[in-house]
C-alpha cells in the first residue's frame, strides 16, 4: 500500500501520512458500529430492545451520542494536574492506535510491515497502562486512582500469559511478523493455526487440543488486557463510579471510549491472526473463481474485519453473561491458573514442534 501510494503521489512523506491515517478510517466507523452493537447485544440478551429511537431501530444512536459528546462542556476540576490530565486520553488512544500499525488488514495493506510485528504490539500496548495510570493519578479522585491502580496491576499480570501464548505461537510458526503468520495459514480454514497450521503431518493432529487451549488462554487474558467484563475492575461502574475516566467529560471522555473499542478490535484481530488465519478467507476467494485478482485484497479486508468483529461480539457475549470477578479472584485466575497452563502449553508445543 505504501509503495503504491509512493508511486501514485510521488512524495514519500505524504504517502506515509496517508498510509498511517488509514486505520483511523477503519477505527472511527468501527467504534460507531461497535458501541451500537454493544448496546443492541446487551439489550437482546436481556430480552430488551436496546436503542430504538434514532433512525431505523436506533442505528444512528451512536452518531447522535457522538455529537452530544462533542457539544459537552470540557470540565477540568480544580486540584488536578492539568498538563497530564489533558494529555492522558490522547496517550491512551495513541497506544491503542499504534497497535494498528502492525495489524495486517490484507495482503496488500499493513501499516508497517516490520519483522517484529507481534513483539512491537506487546510492547506498545503497554503504553495504554501508562495513559490509564496518568489519567487516574492526575484526576485527584480516589475512585479514579483505585481504577488506575487496579488496571495497572491487572494489565501487567495478564501480559504474562498473553506473552507466553504468543511465544508458543511464534515457536510454532517461526516468525514474529503478523503478515507472514497470516500468509502461512492460507486458503482454507483447516489450515488455520487453531487446527494445527498448514503443514500436513501427524503433528497437526497432536497440536489441535493444545491450540484450542492456547486460544482459550489467550482470549481470556486478552479480555483482561482490554478491561472487559468479567475483568472490568478498572471501570467497575457499580463500585468505582467510572474508574480512571470518572473526572473526564466531553471529547476527552470520548477519546477513552474510542481507545477502549479500538483496543477491543485490536486484540480480537490479534486472536484471529494468531489462531484463525488472519485476513485469509476460510472458504476460498470469489476473486480467484472469477479470475479477478484485484478483488482479493478487498475480500481479505472483509474477512479480517468479519473475524475481528466476531471476536468482539464474543467479548460482548461474555460481558453480558458473566459477573465481574473480585480482585483476589482476578489474581487467582491469572497467577494460579492461566500462567501455569500457559507454561505447560508452551512446553508441549515446543516439544511437538521439535518432533
Amino acid at each position: 500500500m505504501y509503495d503504491f501510494l509512493v508511486d501514485l503521489i510521488g512524495n514519500e512523506i505524504i504517502a506515509a501520512f496517508i498510509s498511517a491515517a488509514l486505520p483511523v478510517v477503519f477505527i472511527v466507523p468501527f467504534v460507531i458500529f461497535g458501541v451500537l452493537m454493544e448496546r443492541k447485544v446487551a439489550g437482546h440478551m436481556q430480552d430488551r430492545l436496546g436503542p430504538m429511537r434514532v433512525g431505523y431501530h436506533g442505528i444512528l444512536q451512536t452518531v447522535a451520542d457522538f455529537f452530544k459528546l462533542l457539544q459537552k462542556e470540557d470540565i477540568v476540576a480544580d486540584g488536578i494536574d492539568k498538563k497530564f490530565f489533558n494529555f492522558a486520553p490522547y496517550l491512551v488512544f495513541a497506544g491503542s492506535y499504534a497497535v494498528y500499525a502492525a495489524l495486517p488488514f490484507s495482503s496488500k495493506y499493513i501499516g508497517a510491515d516490520i519483522d517484529l510485528g507481534i513483539f512491537y504490539i506487546i510492547a506498545v500496548s503497554g503504553l495504554v497502562v501508562a495513559g490509564i495510570l496518568m489519567a487516574g493519578w492526575t484526576s485527584n479522585n480516589k475512585y479514579s486512582l483505585y481504577g488506575a491502580l487496579r488496571s495497572a496491576a491487572q494489565i501487567v499480570s495478564y501480559e504474562i500469559p498473553t506473552a507466553l501464548i504468543i511465544l508458543s505461537m511464534v515457536m510454532l510458526t517461526g516468525t514474529l511478523s503478523l503478515a507472514e503468520m497470516s500468509e502461512m495459514q492460507t486458503a482454507y480454514f483447516w489450515n488455520w493455526n487453531i487446527f494445527g497450521g498448514a503443514e500436513w503431518s501427524f503433528t497437526k493432529l497432536l497440536l489441535i487440543p493444545f491450540m484450542f487451549a492456547g486460544f482459550l488462554l489467550f482470549y481470556i487474558s486478552s479480555l483482561a488486557e482490554v478491561n472487559r467484563t468479567p475483568f472490568d475492575m478498572p471501570e467497575a461502574e457499580s463500585e468505582l463510579v467510572g474508574g480512571y475516566h470518572t473526572e473526564y467529560s466531553g471529547i476527552k471522555f470520548s477519546m477513552f471510549f474510542l481507545a477502549e473499542y479500538a483496543n477491543m478490535f485490536a486484540v480480537s484481530a490479534l486472536v484471529s491472526v494468531l489462531f484463525f488465519g488472519g485476513y485469509h478467507s476460510p472458504i476460498g476467494y470469489v476473486g480467484n473463481t472469477l479470475g479477478l485478482e484485484a478483488l482479493i485484497p478487498f475480500e481479505q479486508v472483509f474477512w479480517f474485519a468479519a473475524k475481528g468483529i466476531f471476536f468482539v461480539f464474543v467479548q460482548m457475549w461474555l460481558r453480558w453473561t458473566l459477573p465481574r470477578v473480585r480482585v483476589d479472584q482476578l489474581m487467582t485466575i491469572c497467577w494460579k491458573y492461566l500462567i501455569p497452563y500457559a507454561f505447560l502449553n508452551l512446553l508441549i508445543i515446543g516439544i511437538i514442534t521439535l518432533i
Binding site: 439489550g43 437482546h44 440478551m45 436481556q46 430480552d47 430488551r48 457475549w317 461474555l318 453473561t321 458473566l322
Partner: protein
C-alpha cells in the same frame, strides 16, 4: 491437584453453560413495550384523570363534598326564572349556572369517591394518565363552560333579579303592611261597633 483440574474444568464448563443461556436469550423476542408509541391496555376499572361533562352538571356540589382532599371547587349562581338551562341526559332540570368548576389534579388522590354521589353521572374517570406539567398551576383544570364575562353577567343578572325581588318583596311587604294596618284599623272600628252592637 485433582481439585485444581476440577476447578479449571468447572470454570470453563460453567462459563459455556452461561454463554449458551445468554445466546438463547439473544433470539427470545423482547418484552419491551415501545411506550409512547405502544401502550399497555389499561385495566377495566382504572382510575385516572377526572373529566366533567358540563352539559350534564347540575351544580349540586355533592362531588366537592365527597372529596377527601377538597380538590374540587364549585361555585354556582341561580338562574333567572326566565332562563332555560335545558335538561340533563337523564331528565333532571338544570337550575344553576355553574360559574366555577375547578379540579386541582395536584391535590387529587384519584380515589374515585366523587364519581359515585353524582346524580347525573357527569363526573367520571377517563383513561388519560399522561398530563404532567412543568408548573403546578397547569394541573388546575377548569371545567366550567362559561367565560369570565358570562360569569360576571350571570352574577349581575342574579343580583339584579335578587334586588328586584327584594324590592318587590319590600314593596309587597309594605303594601301588605299597609293593607294590614288598614284592615286592623277597620277591624278595630268594626270591633268596637260590633262590641257595641253585641253589647247593645
Amino acid at each position: 491437584m485433582k481439585q485444581y483440574l476440577k476447578n479449571t474444568w468447572e470454570g470453563i464448563w460453567t462459563v459455556l453453560i452461561g454463554m449458551k443461556i445468554t445466546f438463547k436469550h439473544l433470539f427470545v423476542p423482547a418484552v419491551t413495550i415501545q411506550y409512547p408509541d405502544v401502550k399497555v391496555p389499561l385495566p377495566e376499572r382504572v382510575r385516572n384523570r377526572l373529566y366533567v361533562n358540563m352539559d350534564d352538571c347540575i351544580g349540586c356540589d355533592q362531588c366537592a363534598r365527597a372529596c377527601p382532599v377538597s380538590c374540587i371547587e364549585i361555585e354556582t349562581v341561580k338562574s333567572l326564572p326566565t332562563e332555560d338551562l335545558g335538561k340533563t341526559s337523564n331528565g333532571k332540570k338544570k337550575a344553576l349556572w355553574v360559574t366555577k368548576f375547578n379540579i386541582d389534579f395536584a391535590k387529587c388522590c384519584y380515589c374515585q369517591l366523587c364519581v359515585f354521589p353524582c346524580p347525573t353521572e357527569c363526573i367520571y374517570m377517563t383513561d388519560i394518565y399522561e398530563f404532567s406539567e412543568f408548573k403546578r398551576e397547569g394541573l388546575l383544570y377548569n371545567f366550567s363552560t362559561l367565560t369570565h364575562e358570562e360569569v360576571l353577567e350571570k352574577k349581575a343578572n342574579f343580583e339584579k333579579f335578587q334586588a328586584e325581588k327584594e324590592a318587590q318583596k319590600a314593596a309587597e311587604a309594605k303594601a301588605k303592611a299597609e293593607v294590614a294596618a288598614k284592615t286592623k284599623e277597620s277591624e278595630n272600628k268594626s270591633d268596637t261597633g260590633s262590641n257595641k252592637s253585641e253589647n247593645g
